[in-house]
């Protein structure tokens, strides 16, 4: 996460960190999740799934902030996000902002 | 009268039955098509939308099936030929207006691409279960004509014939096709316009003040007029007299509604078209229509190889029903075998006309597919062997029925 201004209590803020689950054989390759992930966590793969589509894969697993947008934007109910137990302190991710 | 060259898309095509029917309608001079999309009839409507504007045919996609058929009726009374296209559920919605069309003696054509039913059923697959509906679906008494083509080429030819019959008898004509024919792609040859015979509309040409919209000619069919000619038309769906004025008298009803049914019943011989094959010395005759008749030939061939004398009677016009033909045949044959893609409709009429003189075997099929030719040959074989007279329709147990109900259906598509 990139902050406009460094919060004073930055070291105390913890940012939730998500884990993405993909049912790749449900995917029909619409790419909504890839396109609208605010952190570019996902990317389409080259592999064919059982239906002949390219499903997404998790490119940057550590960047996921558990916003659930990919989950909500998946028309196939093929992707969902759970909260990872270890929440990272904000300052760790602060440097890794979106390009 | 010959078809107008601008309407006829002469050429050799590889198209499906739906499209062929659409082209047939254009060739017949249909100038307005109103439809509402419903699988599996959409291709016919789409074909007319695509080609219509190029041959001067207007298309309109109405808001529902009530709208489509009402617009068609309106268009006919404005003086043009018109048709609508639908399938099972849409057909059910049109029932009220079909009766209305029959009452107004409105010549229009309805193409029904039958699918598996009842209700929504199996939209993408075939069925023949609207046959009785086409005859009896609207309330009250009326008669109409129904034709059942079996190939894309026939879809073209019989659509033209349907328009001709409609104009000739001033009645609704149903083309009762089915999904299998509608989605079957084959070679279709569309001839030149001067090879296509078109029945002109029977317009009234006398003095306006003498016009009686429901005064019949000797063949019981009245002359038609169109709106806007200053004839002061009064047309009503109520029971009416010659002038079209509503009457409230039972005797009038007897007279005028009776003519609606009589003009078809008494002209039956001219309307009915049958295709017979080796029925002269047959022990068993297969009676069928539409796609079933095509499949039946395969079954007949198999039975013949086993040495059974079997003939085939194909009902091209299903309604009016060829009572006399069946009555005659019943005297000569042992049994009729009737394959239908339903659980018994036309077979009851066959049984009715048999008068107990021949056995009647139904080969039922629920739809979503066509008969297995082996079922047909087996049914022919067992019918030929049966020496006893059996009352009622014998239902042949098909392979499909055995499979489904003996092994049970698995819960997976």
């Amino acid at each position: 996460m990139k902050f406009w201004r460094k919060p004073l209590d930055l070291d105390k803020i913890k940012i939730s960190c998500g884990e993405i689950h993909i049912f790749k054989d449900r995917c029909k390759g619409c790419a909504f999740c890839v396109e609208y992930c605010p952190k570019d966590v996902l990317e389409m793969s080259e592999e064919f799934n059982i239906k002949g589509y390219h499903p997404p894969y998790v490119k940057n697993p550590d960047d996921c902030l558990e916003c659930h947008l990919c989950e909500m934007l998946c028309p196939e109910f093929a992707i969902f996000v759970t909260l990872k137990e270890n929440e990272k302190p904000a300052n760790v991710t602060a440097e890794k902002g979106r390009k | 009268m010959k078809a107008s060259p601008t309407d006829v898309l002469t050429g050799i095509y590889y198209i499906d039955g739906d499209v062929a029917a659409g082209y047939g309608a254009l060739a017949a001079g249909c100038k307005l098509v109103a439809g509402y999309p419903i699988t599996p009839s959409t291709e016919a409507f789409e074909a007319m939308c695509r080609m219509g504007p190029q041959v001067g045919t207007v298309f309109i996609q109405m808001e529902d099936e009530f709208g489509s058929i009402s617009a068609v009726l309106g268009a006919v009374w404005s003086g043009v030929k018109s048709m609508t296209i639908t399938s099972g559920p849409g057909y059910s919605l049109m029932m009220e207006s079909i009766g209305f069309g029959a009452m107004l003696e409105t010549p229009f054509v309805l193409l029904n691409i039958q699918r598996g039913g009842p209700s929504t059923g199996v939209p993408t697959k075939t069925g023949q279960a609207d046959m009785m509906q086409s005859r009896w679906g609207s309330h009250g008494d009326y008669e109409l004509i129904a034709i059942s083509p079996d190939s894309p080429q026939e879809m073209f030819d019989y659509t033209i014939k349907a328009f001709n019959l409609a104009e000739k008898y001033r009645c609704p004509v149903m083309i009762m096709s089915d999904e299998c024919v509608g989605h079957m792609t084959e070679k279709v040859v569309i001839p030149e316009a001067d090879k296509i015979e078109i029945e002109p509309r029977r317009f009234y040409k006398g003095p306006p003040e003498k016009y009686l919209p429901f005064s019949p000619d000797p063949d019981l069919v009245p002359k038609i007029a169109k709106a806007g000619d200053g004839l002061g038309l009064y047309i009503t769906g109520r029971v009416h007299d010659e002038r079209g004025y509503p009457v409230k008298n039972e005797e009038f009803k007897a007279k005028y509604v009776r003519r609606l049914v009589d003009k078809i019943r008494l002209n039956k011989d001219k309307i009915i078209e049958l295709k017979e094959e080796s029925t002269d010395d047959a022990d068993v005759v297969v009676v069928s229509y539409g796609i079933s008749s095509r499949v039946a030939v395969k079954g007949v061939e198999i039975a013949r190889q086993k040495g059974i004398k079997v003939g085939a009677l194909r009902l091209v016009t299903v309604w009016p029903f060829p009572d006399e033909k069946i009555i005659d045949l019943a005297k000569k044959v042992k049994a009729f075998v009737v394959p239908e893609i339903n659980y018994g409709q036309i077979v009851f009429d066959v049984a009715r006309c048999c008068h107990g003189q021949a056995n009647v075997v139904l080969i039922p099929h629920g739809g979503a597919g066509v008969h297995n030719p082996l079922d047909i040959s087996d049914a022919i074989e067992s019918a030929a062997k049966e020496d006893k007279k059996i009352e009622g329709v014998v239902e042949f147990k098909t392979r499909l029925e055995k499979i489904v109900f003996e092994r049970g259906l698995k819960f997976k598509e």
């Binding site: 029909k28 064919f48 059982i50 239906k51 002949g52 589509y53 | 050799i12 590889y14 499906d16 699988t39 939209p123 993408t124 697959k125 299998c180 989605h183 079957m184 792609t185 084959e186 070679k187 796609i291 095509r294 499949v295 030939v297 395969k298 597919g369 066509v370 030719p373």
Partner: protein, 185 residues
């Protein structure tokens, strides 16, 4: 008489394949052919197949009694229709999309990376035409010349060149495969 089934998922041009071969056979080769289609309600991604009967005389039964040739462009299509393929049948499939089981009877399998070829040609959508070229070379149900005439009738004008290219690609690959098969013997 040849009974052919094209199977795949919606959107691959399965039905169009049937129409092209049927047209080539009935209009340009002057045989009888009947094509019927079956599809699910969904437009894309659903199981979809077309059945084609090519015959010297009028086709009576419009569906297949025993498929002599199966062209499989999806695993689902293969799984569903492989069992109905006759013992002496031919199996043509896209090797990227279908993983066939061990062959049974005298079924001869022929594989082609049609979708990959099509992607190389620039449009995945012409995969079916690639496989049609392959089909023409291997099965000889229809003639090469008729196919070359039938394809332009069935595709938009802009895409004719690409489709013919795709057809050639599949056809040549088919010839190669046949050649290779003969070599060891």
């Amino acid at each position: 008489m040849a009974e052919i089934r094209f199977a795949g998922y919606g959107g691959q041009g399965i039905i169009r394949s049937g129409i092209i071969v049927g047209r080539a056979a009935s209009i340009y080769d002057d045989k009888f052919s009947t094509m019927s289609q079956s599809f699910g309600p969904e437009a894309r991604g659903g199981a979809c197949s077309s059945q084609l009967v090519v015959s010297e005389s009028k086709v009576l039964y419009p569906y297949l009694t025993a498929a002599g040739i199966l062209v499989a462009m999806s695993q689902a299509g293969y799984d569903k229709f492989e069992p109905e393929l006759s013992e002496k049948g031919l199996l043509l499939y896209d090797e990227d999309l279908v993983k066939p089981k061990a062959s049974r009877g005298n079924i001869t399998p022929f594989a082609i990376p049609a979708t990959r070829f099509a992607e190389q040609l620039g449009k995945k959508i012409v995969a079916n035409v690639v496989i049609l070229g392959f089909f023409t070379a291997i099965t000889k149900v229809v003639t090469y010349e008729s196919m070359k005439k039938a394809i332009p009738d069935s595709v938009p004008e802009k895409a004719i060149d690409l489709n013919l290219k795709a057809f050639e690609r599949g056809y040549n690959f088919g010839l190669e495969v046949l050649k290779k098969q003969k070599e060891p013997q």
